[in-house]
């Protein structure tokens, strides 16, 4: 699996309702040591309800300047949440087109928790 297998992919909840897109992967450096640094563990997925683009990252940081740009990006990403990896029920299998008409999606587990995505 590579990061872009998950990025930009639509996210469905357990009932099949579309809840957003994966805009980023949250990693935590607490995996087993591997060289000078610990291995980054995939901690969860950052899901934005509206847009696949997230490049500026304003919705997750405390930076509020320059005001108009920060404001616009935050507006566009209102409702962005973090879902833990343990709450992910299934991810698209790379290279396996299940149904060509159906876009591959990440499906979340029933009873998953929406966490605050701020860093």
């Amino acid at each position: 699996m590579i990061a872009s297998d998950l990025l930009d992919v639509p996210v469905l909840d357990a009932d099949g309702t579309h809840v957003g897109f994966v805009v980023d992967l949250r990693l935590v450096l607490d995996g087993p040591p591997d060289g000078p640094l610990a291995r980054p563990r995939l901690h969860g997925l950052v899901v934005s309800p509206r847009s696949r683009s997230s490049f500026l990252g304003f919705e997750r940081s405390a930076v509020r300047a320059p005001w108009p740009v920060a404001h616009l990006v935050r507006r566009r990403h209102r409702g962005t949440f973090l879902v833990h990896w343990s709450d992910v029920a299934s991810v698209p299998t790379p290279g396996e087109a299940a149904d060509p008409r159906q876009e591959a999606a990440v499906v979340l587990a029933r009873g998953m928790t929406r966490y605050d995505a701020r860093l």
Binding site: A3, V19, P32, R39, R50, L119
Partner: protein, 151 residues
């Protein structure tokens, strides 16, 4: 294919408990950053990350059974560059045999650039640079001249 607009969630978000290690977002802090080698020489741009499930004996999550890889913990094992850039721009996915990677154990430091603890010339993925050096630039007169006058 047009998708229905995602439903708005109006409920409160749970506060995220701070994990024990350093927290990074892949796209925000890693992807598309410059990778430098031990001598601060640019090696590549970080185009993608390789993720692998590990069986570290941790208790599998409640839904582990439905996950394709079947393991609860997924870790980053390598930095990728090269052909994965084309597919990130134009879509699709290169076969894993064509990924050019740097193992995570070579990463020394993460900042505004990703710093490696090895020399770039020792890595497989710098072959186009070495090829250009050996076949073109190194053969032109003065190609090995140091413009700063260090011998």
């Amino acid at each position: 294919m047009r998708r229905r607009r995602p439903e708005r969630w109006s409920g409160p978000l749970a506060p995220e408990p701070r994990p024990a290690g350093r927290v990074l977002d892949a796209r925000l802090h890693l992807l598309d950053r410059q990778v430098l080698d031990d001598d601060e020489v640019p090696v590549c741009t970080l185009d993608d990350l390789e993720l692998e499930p590990v069986d570290d004996g941790a208790t599998p999550g409640p839904h582990a059974g439905t996950r394709p890889a079947g393991a609860a913990t997924v870790v980053v094992t390598a930095l990728l560059s090269g052909p994965v850039l084309r597919t990130r721009i134009f879509g699709g996915r290169p076969p894993s045999s064509r990924w050019q990677s740097v193992a995570w154990r070579h990463v020394r430091d993460l900042g505004t650039a990703v710093r490696l603890g090895v020399r770039g010339d020792d890595l497989d993925l710098t072959w186009p640079e070495r090829w250009t050096r050996d076949h073109v630039v190194g053969r032109l007169p003065g190609g090995r001249h140091d413009p700063e006058g260090r011998s």
